[in-house]
């Protein structure tokens, strides 16, 4: 597996792919993987979705929501701007006054259905191409990560599909691939395709998404399925265990047998029971052998200025990895898939099962494990609504995962609707319970700022870059988790805090420390109010805010509503208003003075704990 990787990342000579008939074969498109048949469950789900969307204006029944809390929520409408904003800020990346009016008119569920049903806009891959980042030029885009950062900021800061992208971002923190360390040609396209797949499958079926992710070219590199070879009894070489372990621990079943509410099952002697042993890992590892990138139809191009370095086309990072070794960059003489039997979690793959059939058996077994519903449900609730959901809330969402009401398991559309429309999420108590909510993730804050205040990119590149540094930037950058364990762990308990004393977890608090609290405010101070914007490129317009800047109270209320769902206390708003009024402004004042008011209002809201904790 070294060879394929080296061939792409090193500047040394690379064997030319002999021109052959494969070049004439039209590769599958990015959106439709070669494995998806025309009648796959996800395609059915898409069709059903369209029907549902069409029907929901009349309040018709919605597939995916079983009787219970959801059915009462369907008729429910926000009773205030604050309730509307609270809901939208969980479901989406930002909120506008127009959307607040809309959801107050149509109600929570119809609004959500319309958002879910909206056509997917420009993909990350298409955007990279539109900016020329798919071209072999002297800039060697293929060797750089920065187009990937441009891509994701463009995706998050612009365009429609706020709900779909918010869900995809949550999924990117569950099925984690990190751009950091993707060391192969066209890494930015690879992370874009991964992002595009999360977007495309966000409201599809978990089983389909699991397979997409398993065979995703970037994931293949990240967790080493790409180039993973079968055992060699002569040399003692073993299959790589990385994906086998993490697909169980992180993507499907977790470490402990779970009850339906996500709590560990007590086994004999009262201790939790582990879901798998190391033997399960070494056996399952055999299933993920024999895969590599699919170079079907590849045409190399010489790197600019090189007479030897052949750069493959971008196609291989947008196609599912394949066990058909004739499609690999350097085809071996035989299959690299293990022929050994594999037994894991009580499931057996017989000896000599081909790779595709073995994968189906394995992913089906993982998908159908009773842990998946509560394991996934709890973490998605944590990402979108609250760090400490009740057992009953987890149970309700897990039940929807297990059965969407029409017998389908793993219907993500139904799962995310159940999370957002649950009584526990919509209850007025969410705004007063001192334990409810979660810390807004730093990257979500920046995206919310950009979308809310009309940020534009002067260059068109959305040059925000990698903002992972906590001392000078956000301490978190989208699609740049430090490892597959995400930026923070779902069970993280900050030491010596009120949270720990009250028995609460606070995952996002893993990013909070004496450096990051200052670093974040400093970064936002510049982002919000510098003359030329972030990196002299990304700058907010504040057009609506300029118009109301002379009225300090109105300005603060407006920013409080759009950023914090009007959850700032009167005393906090008073502190901010007094600071804003320190800049004397009338309707005829120059914009530069009005902007100072806006900057103060936005920064002070974003620095306040009542904003930082999303309730």
């Amino acid at each position: 597996m070294v060879l394929e990787t080296l061939a792409l990342q090193d500047s040394g000579a690379v064997e030319a792919e002999p021109g052959d008939m494969r070049q004439n074969v039209e590769p599958p498109t990015a959106k439709q993987s070669s494995r998806s048949g025309p009648v796959s469950p996800s395609n059915l789900a898409v069709a059903a979705l369209a029907l549902t969307t069409a029907a929901c204006g009349g309040g018709g029944t919605s597939s995916g929501t079983p009787p219970g809390p959801g059915s009462t929520a369907q008729a429910r409408k926000p009773q205030s701007d604050a309730e509307a904003a609270q809901f939208i800020l969980r479901a989406s990346l930002s909120v506008s006054t127009a959307e607040i009016a809309n959801i107050k008119s149509v109600g929570f569920e119809p609004w959500l259905d319309a958002q879910i049903g909206a056509q997917i806009g420009q993909t990350g891959i298409a955007w990279l191409a539109s900016r020329g980042f798919d071209q072999v030029t002297a800039a060697n885009y293929f060797d750089n990560e920065y187009p990937g950062d441009y891509m994701i900021w463009n995706q998050l800061m612009t365009g429609s599909n706020g709900v779909r992208k918010r869900i995809a971002l949550a999924l990117s923190e569950y099925f984690v691939v990190s751009l950091t360390g993707l060391n192969f040609a066209w890494r930015s396209q690879a992370i874009a395709h991964y992002w595009d797949q999360l977007n495309a499958r966000a409201f599809g079926n978990f089983r389909e998404l699991l397979e997409d992710i398993t065979l995703n070219p970037a994931m293949g590199y990240f967790l080493n399925t790409q180039g993973n070879r079968k055992e060699d009894t002569r040399t003692g070489r073993q299959p790589d265990e990385n994906y086998a372990r993490e697909v169980m621990q992180l993507f499907t079943i977790g470490l402990y047998q779970l009850n339906g509410d996500g709590t560990p099952k007590a086994g004999a002697n009262g201790q939790p029971t582990e879901t798998y042993t190391n033997d399960d890992v070494t056996n399952l590892a055999r299933v993920f052998t024999g895969y590599d990138w699919d170079f079907t139809g590849n045409v190399d191009t010489l790197a600019v200025g090189s007479t030897t370095r052949k750069i493959p086309g971008t196609g291989y990072v947008t196609k599912a990895m394949t066990s058909d070794f004739t499609k690999w960059r350097s085809p071996p003489s035989s299959s690299q898939h293990s022929a050994l039997a594999a037994t894991f979690l009580g499931t057996s793959v017989p000896a000599n099962t081909d790779a595709t059939a073995a994968l189906k058996i394995a992913l089906d077994a993982l998908f159908n494990h009773s842990n998946v519903g509560p394991f996934f449900a709890r973490q998605m609730i944590q990402r979108l609504v609250t760090s400490n959901p009740s057992a009953a809330y987890v149970t309700r969402v897990a039940n929807v995962f297990n059965n969407n009401g029409t017998g389908q398991r793993g219907d993500l559309r139904a799962v995310f609707k159940a999370i957002l429309l649950d009584d526990e999420a919509l209850a007025p108590a969410t705004r007063t319970d001192p334990r409810f909510g979660k810390i807004r993730e730093p990257m979500v804050r920046l995206v919310q700022w950009g979308r809310t205040f009309g940020a534009l990119s002067t260059s068109g590149n959305w040059n925000i870059g990698n903002v992972s540094d906590s001392a000078s930037r956000l301490g978190q950058s989208p699609l740049r988790s430090p490892s597959v364990f995400n930026f923070f762990r779902p069970g993280y308990v900050p030491s010596n805090t009120m949270a720990s004393a009250n028995g609460l977890v606070a995952p996002e608090f893993q990013l909070v420390n004496e450096t990051s609290t200052s670093g974040y405010v400093n970064y936002m101070t510049t982002a919000i109010g510098s003359a030329n914007g972030i990196n002299n490129d990304v700058k907010a317009q504040y057009s609506a805010e300029l118009a109301i800047a002379p009225d300090a109270a109105a300005l603060v209320d407006h920013v409080s509503l759009l950023m914090a769902a009007a959850q700032l206390s009167d005393s906090t708003k008073a502190v901010i208003r007094q600071a804003v009024e320190d800049v004397v402004v009338t309707a005829s004042s120059p914009d530069s003075e009005k902007l100072r008011r806006v900057y103060l209002a936005v920064l002070l809201v974003m620095a306040s704990a009542e904003y930082l904790v999303q309730k």
Partner: protein
Amino acid sequence: MHIGKLNEISRRAFLHRSSQLAAAGAASSWAMGLAGIGEAAAFSPGTDYKALVCIFLYGGNDHNSMLVPFDSANYDLYSAIRGGGPGQTAGGITPARASLAATVLAPPQGQVLTNDIQYALAPQMTRLKARFDQGAMAPMLNVGPLIVPLTLDQYKSSNLVANPRPAKLFSHNDQQSTWQSSKPEGATDGWGGRMGDLALSSNSNALFTCISATGNAVMLSGTQALSYQVSSGGAIAVNGIKRSLYGSSKGSAALNTLMTQAHTHVLESDYNTVAKRSIDAEGVVSAALSQVSLATSFAPAVGRNRLAEQLSIVAQLIAARQPLGVRRQVFMVSLGGFDTHDRLPQDHPGLMDTLDFAMDAFYRATLELGVADKVTTFTASDFGRTLASNGDGSDHGWGSHHLVMGGAVAGGRYYGTAPQISLNSNDQVGQGRLLPTTSVDQYAATMATWFGVAPSELPSVAPNIGRFATSNLGFLG
């Protein structure tokens, strides 16, 4: 509504824990550990100084590539398992034997290890080889988390009550936590922080007892001691508070108010507690660091060394120990990238070079500051890795080799028991995943003893220590 019950909840948690301790039985070291809780007279009064510095290697270091068998017989066994080339040349994940000649660690006093194995450091680690020869560095062989000593038969036993083992072995996040705290993910205190608990009263500014120059980790949190975080550049000031905010001094005052005011919501309260601590401490730390002059360079000849950058700020903080008001400190720094399932021959040498340069630079700094014998640096990691190869990498293991360095280290020799170079010996649990022969509790207790923790208080730092033959492995005199 739960706020008012805070004290009650804390008290109940304490009682619950106490009853758990009691239930463990009088023979258990836990019972002794109670003696240390709430008492803070661990260290004798005085003006001496000691610091421990944990270098955490995130991802699970391939210890087999950091300490490689060099004697011909064991090298050949290693090469056969790890795909080496013919005639002791490089191949698979095996370096050429000749490349190891300059970094052989030969104890000047002579030391016979298992199967007469001789080790060499990774070829990049020439600086630490020199420190070994000077007696300032020692490898600790096959150390890992254990609850009780375990033989292979006991490990295989289904009687987990008689033969308890750490939970969630081989899992990154849980074994990181277990190494640092003796408990899997979700733990709230680690052994660095528990040492810090005992040191709090020795320091006039308790906040600077436990300092992390890397991200949040449980290692440095105690039951009372806080983990204070600094960046490689020092403490970060809030610019909008130091100066006016968008030209407004009222704006600046408002920002200060909003970042530091108390809240009733649990998470809001906790967030502002950290922000306030950051603002309060920044002035003290920045003022103290401004007086420091340190000539030692932490910059490599080429590129950046992020571990050295972290150790640079640690060295500066140690230099500023008097204005900071500290006598006992525990620090943590880290280096990531060790999860070498793939590309081990490409990636691991660079990591070893980074580690070698950074540890050596830090040691040079302690020499310059005249505190080399007062500062002990040690490595830790999620776990070791398989001796077996998957072609171009290795997989998650358990026991691992580690390095201890400093003027107080009785270096120039090995500690612990060398494992056999084998995939089926009784010191490993499959594919060369080492069954630890030394526990992390022993590793921690040895350092705690040097740090000044009394024998009676060791169990509060290393909860399982009473189950092991010795609490002092001897590498610190």
